[in-house]
Amino acid sequence: MADVAIPRAKPQMTEAGAWAQLKHNRNWLGFWFMVPAMVFLIFFLAYPLGLGIWLSFTDTRIGRVGQFIAFENYEWLWDDSIFWLSVFNTLLYTFVASAFKFGIGLYLALLLNEHMPFKAMLRAMVLIPFIVPTVLSALAFWWIFDSQFSIISWSLKQLGLINQNINFLGDTTWARICVIFANIWRGVPFVAITLLAGLQTVSPSLYEAATLDGATRWQNFRYITYPLLTPIIAVVMTFSVLFTFTDFQLIWAMTRGGPVNATHLMATLSYQRAIIAGQLGEGAAISSAMIPFLLAAIMVSWFGLQRRKWQQGENND
């Protein structure tokens, strides 16, 4: 055999420069992919949040740099009945609107999940309130509930059911009902469509199996649909509660918090004190006061959202 050993090229891998190494380092590359999101979150989320909390400890006004005054703003709010009214309003608004949104949304989702004519069109129609800009729908509701030109009052008068206009947005109870109604109208599509998506992941054969096992339609819902839907319900209701709790546009466009602060939410009160009245420190304290409530809502869903045992794969304990 006359084969000649072919001289091997010297391996040059170790000679690669630091830069070339970095280029192939997954962590390094991953870091740079993360940077845009990080910058975005820091500048538009973390920084404003931190600034808001800081402002709440100062007596900053528009046009004047504030002094650090520790908890004075909060002490002030503690004795402010309007602030407590806004807390009550916000809780009432969130609780009632979310409960209705869940009920109506679930009902619509179950309905749209059935076979029926024009299903696709109906599903699209359900989304309409969601795609109309909030301020536009708020203005529309403002007209619908107007004290002089309300179409509801007009219709009821034509039917002879009432003699004079209902003062929808001028009466404290009516005003609360109206803004809650508008919020429900606007929030139902999100809940309905998300729950519908959840319903469609449930295999029809489960219902068939349950039917053969002797389940009635109610038992099908109670033992199959509802438990399988709970993870999605937890997600959608967390979002719904957060959105409702921090609502601002609808209220501001319809009532500006009136009458007599009956519809002032924490968000609108904060805006009024901080921007309209110029008391940035106090306004910031009001919005910072929302944080514990929001955290509580998130905690509830956090524990609700914990992957249930049946969703896990390997764990055998």
Binding site: S203, L212, G214, I224, P227, W310, E314
Partner: protein, 355 residues
């Protein structure tokens, strides 16, 4: 346990009729397999039996009760689904006990029956697990457990093994058959796999395009298929079909493609010259000096037997030999069908011609 009578059952979806009058008597305790290619209506028929589909016309009775208008849960049947349809949020025990719970059985009663079913199916160590934590075969057994717990009149199986791998399928096949021998519950089993049908059934019902092609024991169907469809469907590798004409000049014979002469034991009366299809199963070929000449194309040994693909009169046929012949592609051999085991079908109707 109960007998089941399916009488002239039809099913239409809109204007489209998928079952054209099906009549199947099922005796008490029988294991009946509905088999056929996909789209033949076998699953629809099973679902009608379960009450998941309406019956367009005809009657289905379980025991001596017509169940056309009886709610599924009142029919006293249990069904095993192709995808098992286990409730993902319930443990194995809860899955199996669900039907009892809906019937307000006491928890002692539920526990007792679930335990007994779990012992039968070797599921006892898995009772606290969730379906996601089980293997395919275990899920299959839970689905059967759910059926057993109810102690129903009739078991329905809808292609229960098609999601399992080949090895497990064979094992579960035996397990289901053993279970049936033990419980003796009337069973209707749907599959598209003729091997499953052959191995498990007391009675096979071959369906095709919404009609019953033939009913009978596995070996009846194998030995005497009523028509060319059943002949081709039952048996693996499938029966060879050769087109040609019946010849009767003193002795009966068959003139196959390109004039190849094939033996016939007897010809039906007045059949001289009639166009027909000659059917011979792969294992009914022998090598004989008076056989028809064929050229070997491919040889596939499987160990226990050897499959030989060959050209006979220009047509491809497959022959199976238990003996270990030394064949090579290109070899010329003389293949002789065993005359007493040959099938003859009418060319136009596909109906069986010989006795």
């Amino acid at each position: 346990m109960s007998s089941v009578q399916i009488r002239d059952v039809r099913k239409s979806f809109g204007n489209f009729e998928v079952l054209h009058g099906v009549t199947i008597p099922i005796e008490d305790g029988q294991f009946v397999v509905l088999v056929g290619p996909s789209g033949c209506g076998k699953s629809t028929l099973l679902r009608m039996l379960a009450g998941l589909e309406n019956i367009t016309s005809g009657t289905i009775s379980i025991g001596d009760r017509v169940v056309n208008n009886v709610q599924p849960k009142e029919r006293d049947i249990a069904m095993v689904f192709q995808n098992y349809a286990l409730y993902p949020h319930m443990t194995v025990a809860d899955n199996m006990g669900f039907s009892l719970k809906l019937r307000n059985a006491s928890s002692d009663e539920i526990n007792k029956r679930v335990k007994r079913a779990a012992e039968i199916l070797a599921l006892s160590p898995l009772l606290d697990r969730y379906p996601r934590q089980l293997s395919g075969g275990q899920r299959q057994r839970v689905a059967m457990g759910r059926a057993i717990v109810r102690d129903p009149q009739v078991f329905l199986f809808d292609e229960p093994l098609s999601n399992l791998d080949a090895k497990l399928r064979v094992a579960m096949r035996t397990e289901i058959k053993e279970l049936h021998q033990r419980l003796k519950t009337t069973t209707v089993y749907v599959t598209h796999d003729q091997i499953e049908a052959m191995t498990m059934a007391d009675k096979i019902v071959v369906m095709h395009d919404g009609i019953v092609e033939q009913m009978g024991t596995p070996l009846e169907l194998y030995d005497k298929p009523d028509n060319q469809f059943v002949a081709g469907f039952i048996g693996s590798p499938a029966m060879n079909f050769l087109k040609g004409h019946v010849r009767v000049n003193g002795v009966a014979s068959f003139e196959g493609p390109n004039g190849v002469k094939l033996p016939l034991k007897t010809a039906p009366a007045n059949s001289d010259g009639r166009p027909a299809v000659y059917g011979v199963r792969p294992e009914h070929f022998t090598i004989a000096d008076d056989g028809a000449e064929a050229e070997i194309i491919v040889v596939e040994p499987t160990g226990s037997e050897t499959q030989v693909f060959a050209k006979l009169g220009g047509e491809q046929v497959v022959a199976v030999f238990r003996e270990r012949h030394q064949f090579n592609p290109g070899d010329k051999v003389r293949l002789k069908p065993e005359p007493s085991l040959v099938h003859l079908f009418d060319d136009a109707t596909g109906k069986r011609m010989n006795a």
